[in-house]
Symmetry: C2
Subunit: 100 residues, 2 copies
């Protein structure tokens, strides 16, 4: 089982993920992505879904038309682990392929 | 623009959609779908996404692993319209293809 990051480790990791922030009241990180329409938002989600399934690590996410709100945490570890940081970075890379 | 359903029309429509319920405080309808895992949940979402895009009518939905929580309303009309009823019925039909 992955270990949750220490506050120092998490701060270092988030420094490389400036669009992500800590979630109030939960050991989790979050980001909102805004795309031009549903086609792009769901295209992003489909690409992320393949990565997430391969990692066996899945986001909590809400989609409304062109918007995708994501929360990441490792349920088995009870907080943010290296897997969340890697999935967050993958989501940023995939989102960068879309005009936002 | 589609017209919102009257309370009577909505009650009649929901009688044929027993797994859907009205949302407190909003003119919207909702249902939670529970699948066996992320593969099935996202497979369901992908099939619904194609239908929604074709209808040009999109859900508000949240996915956590095998769970998909859906809210439907017609933002342009400000409430539940016939399009929401048709999308809800389509989601029920698609979900029925999965072992739940």
């Amino acid at each position: 089982m992955a270990k949750t990051l220490t506050p120092e480790e998490r701060a270092t990791a988030l420094a490389d993920l400036p669009d992500w922030h800590a979630v109030d009241g939960r050991d989790a990180i979050a980001r909102s992505f805004t795309f031009q329409n549903f086609n792009e938002a769901f295209g992003f989600m489909a690409r992320v879904a393949l990565v997430a399934e391969k990692m066996d690590h899945h986001p909590e996410w809400t989609n409304v038309y062109g918007k995708v709100d994501v929360v990441l945490m490792s349920h088995d570890a009870g907080g943010v682990t290296d897997r969340d940081i890697r999935l967050a970075a993958a989501m940023d890379r995939i989102a960068a392929d879309f005009p936002m």
